[in-house]
Amino acid sequence: MMRMTYGAAMPANASNWVAVWRRNYLAWRKVALASLLGNLADPMTNLLGLGFGLGLIVGRVNGTSYIDFLVGGMVATSAMTSASFETIYATFARMHTQRTWEAMLCTQLTLGDILLGEVAWAASKAVLAGTGITIVAAGLGYAAWPSMLYALPAIALTGFVFASLAMVIVSLAPSYDYFVFYQTLVLTPMVFLCGAVFPINQLPAAFQFVAGLLPLEHSIELIRPAMLGRPIGSVGMHIGALCIYAVVPFLLSVALLLRRLMR
C-alpha cells in the first residue's frame, strides 16, 4: 500500500501559506464592514451587558471593578470564538461546498500550506476581534494603557490555538451539523470553566485543576493582567502551553485531512 507521506503534505516552505491568507483577505475585504460589526457586536454586548448589569450586584472582584475584570475575559473569549467560528464555518465551506481547496490543491501548494494559511487567517480574525474590543474598552476607560499592548501577542496566539483545534473538528466532521456540539460541549463550558466571567478560585479544586489544562485559561492568564495593568505571572508556562495547543492539533489536522481528502 503506497501511502501519501505526511512529509509531502506538510507546508512546503515558509511563504506558500501567504497566498492562501491573501485569498481569504481579498474575500473578506469585500464584506469587511458587515464582518467587523458581526465580530464586535456580540462580545461588546456581553461586556457592557454583564459588566454594567451584573457589575452592580457583584461589586468588586479581585480588587477591581467587575467590568474591568471582565474585559480580559471577553477579549480572550472573542479571540477564541472568532478563530473557532471562522474555521468551523468558513474554512469548512472552503474545503467542502465552495471547492476552494480543490482548486488550491491543483497548484504547487501542499495541504499543509493550505491549512497553515487558513489557520493564520483565522488567527488574524481573532486579532481583529480581540483588538477591536480592547480599543473600545480602552476608549471607555476599562483597559490600562500601555500595558494592554502586551495582550496583542497573546490574542494572536489564542487565535492560532483555537483555529488549530477547530481544524481538527473540521477534519472529522461529516457536515455542518456536528459543529454545534463543539460549540455547546467544548467552547461554551470553557468560557465558564476558565474564568472569563468570574474568578476560577471560586470553583471547586477539581474544576480548577481541569481549567489549568484548558487553553482558554492560559490565554486569560496572559490577557487579563495586561488589561488591568498588573504584572503577568508564569508567562513562559502560559505561552508554552498555548504553543503546544497550537502546534499539536495543527499537525493532527494535517494527518486527518490527508486521510480524508487524499485517499
Partner: protein, 304 residues
C-alpha cells in the same frame, strides 16, 4: 524536457475491495493530446486525481513530467495546469481577481501575474469581462476562465477532466478550438471525456476504459477501422427482434442497444432492401465512430 509527459505502469487502486483502477498502463508523449474515454464510473476522475498526486495508488508507478507521483507531486504540479470537472472558481471575485489569486498559489508575484493576465484574457476571449464577477458569467465563459486559470503558470501539461461537459454546442466548439490552439503551441493535453465526438476531434491517441481497465488504446481512426471497418445503419422503431431476423444474413455484426439496432455491414444497400417492407422504421446510415468501438468492446452504449 523528457519526451514522456505522463507514464502509468501497472497502477492499481481499489476502494473497499472494489477495483477502481486495474493494472492500468499508458504513456502520454510530450506534445500530444491523449484521451481517457469511458462512461461515468470507469475511473477517469480517479486517474486524473492520481496524476495530480491527490490519490495514492495501491501499487504501480506514476511519473508526471519526470517526477515520481505522489512522492514529488508538488514539483510535478508546478508544471501542470488543471481544468477540473466542476468549476471551482471564486464566484465572488472578478475574472481578473481569480487569475491573480491563482497565480499567487504558484508563487508568482504581482508583476509576473500582471504580465500574463492580458494574454490569458485574450486567449479565453474574456477581455471585456476582466472586471465582471464570476457569478455574472455564462457557463461557457466560466469554462474558458477555468482554462485561462490553468494556463497561468505556463504549464507543459494540461490535465482536463471532462472539459466540455454541460456546455452547449457553441460553447463546446469554442473550447475545442482553443484546445487545438494550445496543441499547436506544443502543449501536452490529457483529457477525460465521455463524448466520442470530443475524443475523435481532439485526441491524437486515446485509451478506452471500462471499470478501471484499459480495453483498447490507439489513434481514434485506427481504432475505428480496426474494430469496425465498415459503415453503420441505425434502425429505430418497429419491432427490433423482427428487424434483426430480416437483416441478419447481410450484416457483419448487429448490436441492440435499448430500442436501437446498430447494423454493421459492408453493403448497407442490401440491408436497406430487406427492411423496405417493414413499417414505422427510421433508418440512419453513417460512417462508424468511437461510439461503435465502445459498443463493440463493451457490448453497451456509453452511459452519461
Amino acid at each position: 524536457m523528457s519526451s514522456v509527459a505522463i507514464d502509468f505502469a501497472a497502477v492499481n487502486k481499489s476502494y473497499r475491495g472494489k477495483a477502481v483502477v486495474n493494472e492500468l498502463a499508458f504513456t502520454v508523449a510530450a506534445g500530444e493530446c491523449f484521451g481517457l474515454l469511458g462512461p461515468n464510473g470507469a475511473g477517469k476522475s480517479t486517474i486524473v486525481r492520481m496524476i495530480l498526486g491527490m490519490v495514492p495508488p495501491d501499487s504501480g508507478q506514476i511519473t508526471v513530467l519526470g517526477k515520481q507521483v505522489p512522492a514529488h507531486a508538488r514539483l510535478a504540479r508546478a508544471g501542470v495546469g488543471v481544468v477540473p470537472q466542476f468549476d471551482n472558481l471564486e464566484n465572488e471575485f472578478t475574472v481578473r481577481e481569480n487569475l491573480l489569486v491563482f497565480g499567487r498559489y504558484f508563487g508568482m508575484n504581482a508583476g509576473e501575474i500582471g504580465a500574463v493576465i492580458p494574454s490569458l484574457l485574450e486567449f479565453a476571449r474574456l477581455e471585456s469581462k476582466a472586471d465582471a464577477r464570476v457569478a455574472e458569467l455564462s457557463g461557457g465563459m466560466k469554462r474558458r476562465l477555468v482554462l485561462a486559470r490553468a494556463l497561468i503558470n505556463d504549464p507543459h501539461l494540461l490535465v482536463m477532466d471532462e472539459p466540455t461537459t454541460g456546455l452547449d454546442p457553441h460553447a463546446r466548439h469554442l473550447i475545442w478550438e482553443r484546445l487545438r490552439a494550445l496543441l499547436a503551441r506544443g502543449k501536452t493535453i490529457l483529457l477525460t471525456t465521455h463524448f466520442m465526438e470530443e475524443a475523435e476531434r481532439l485526441c491524437d491517441r486515446l485509451c478506452v476504459l471500462e471499470e478501471g481497465r484499459k480495453i483498447a488504446e490507439g489513434e481514434p481512426q485506427a481504432l475505428i477501422i480496426e474494430q469496425i471497418g465498415c459503415d453503420v445503419m441505425e434502425i429505430y422503431g418497429g419491432k427490433p427482434q423482427e428487424s434483426i431476423e430480416l437483416i441478419r444474413p447481410y450484416a457483419q455484426r448487429i448490436e441492440l442497444s435499448g430500442e436501437t439496432i446498430f447494423c454493421y455491414a459492408p453493403d448497407l444497400e442490401q440491408v436497406r432492401k430487406q427492411l423496405r417492407g417493414a413499417v414505422g422504421l427510421r433508418l440512419l446510415e453513417r460512417p462508424p465512430n468511437l461510439e461503435d468501438v465502445f459498443l463493440r468492446l463493451t457490448g453497451r452504449e456509453i452511459e452519461i
